[in-house]
């Protein structure tokens, strides 16, 4: 009985992983996909999600330079990233957009933006857009937060008001980050915001 069970678990996990990458976002409870993909960082180094991962938890944000919604949230993303990176959460921002569609999403603009904003975490290029595909990310900005056990515990919006930071009523990602950094269970696990559709490379 036991050997059979052991055999069945990886099979089920395998099916699950392929299903989520084909359609729909990574499900709550899923583990991080494509952790070994090499991603070029704004500082010229190569990063992997495995390298960014921290014991307390890991935040992956799909964002970009050109999108007006991503721009509205940009300073909040940087502030949250810097704050929680300092608290032991692994943080990475990923640009999966094809810069052929949006020249503003070119690498050199990312370098400039990261410097201007004072990003203290990697801002990398998903050069095939396959990391975004594996996460089932569809838009920018879109956040995925994993807890200390490596499971997805939050997916969605930065907060509930992109337009006016002063009118935010629910700071979803901040709350989730705080909860995860304290090793507790995230209550609001999935939220949505309007964003720019990711322009996937073909």
């Amino acid at each position: 009985m036991t050997p059979k069970l052991l055999l069945a678990i990886p099979l089920v996990l395998g099916l699950h992983a392929s299903a989520t990458s084909a359609a729909g976002p990574l499900a709550i409870g899923a583990t991080m996909p494509m952790t070994d993909a090499k991603l070029k960082n704004v500082d010229g180094t190569e990063q992997t999600l495995a390298g960014v991962k921290q014991a307390a938890g890991t935040l992956v944000v799909f964002t970009c330079n050109h999108c007006p919604f991503a721009k509205r949230w940009e300073s909040r993303i940087v502030e949250l990233g810097n704050t929680y990176a300092a608290k032991g959460i692994g943080v990475i921002a990923i640009n999966a957009n094809d810069p052929k569609a949006y020249p503003e999403d070119e690498f050199d603009v990312m370098v400039k933006r990261a410097k201007e904003r004072g990003m203290q975490f990697p801002y990398v290029v998903d050069a095939t857009s396959n990391v975004a595909r594996a996460f089932g990310a569809t838009k920018t900005p879109e956040a995925f937060l994993f807890d200390k056990s490596g499971k997805l515990v939050y997916h969605g919006a930065i907060d509930d008001n992109g337009e006016e930071p002063s009118k935010v009523e629910n700071a979803y990602l901040k709350n989730a980050l705080e909860t995860v950094s304290q090793g507790q269970d995230v209550l609001v696990k999935e939220t949505k915001s309007i964003g720019c559709g990711i322009k996937f490379r073909s």
């Binding site: 337009e163 915001s193 720019c196």
Partner: protein
Amino acid sequence: MLSALALSAAALTAPTAPAPLPVAAEAILAEVRKPGAAGVLVNVWATWCAPCREEFPDLLHVARELAPKGLRVILVSVDFPEAEADVAKFLTSQGVDFPTFRRIGKDDAFVDGLERQWSGAIPATFLYGADGALVRFWEGKASYPVIKKRALAALEPKEAR
């Protein structure tokens, strides 16, 4: 006097698009379910969204072609409030002469209120049958033949789709 004449002549050749009406998701669905349409197309767009702007002429082409077959088209801008003038300018440049809408309220309520399957990415297009039930939706821009084919399918009676 002359300039006033010139202005009114320009206004005649290019009628100004009606200012978009502010709506929440429920009001859009109420528009969808208003009787009298054989099918309804809802498109969520913004002036700053390049693929939205690119597909706009194709959407309007389909809208004009299929209006006689009973297709109702509902355009919803999610532009920021300060972009009002840009929205009006764009709609006018596209020759939109029917009422359109702009989103109000929180993202979460708007996205899920309109359609739970929608991630919130734009452009997003939703097609409903005569009964107001969702037939199909997609994120990202589509070409004229694709939009037309899908819209025609939504216009078909349920059992013929």
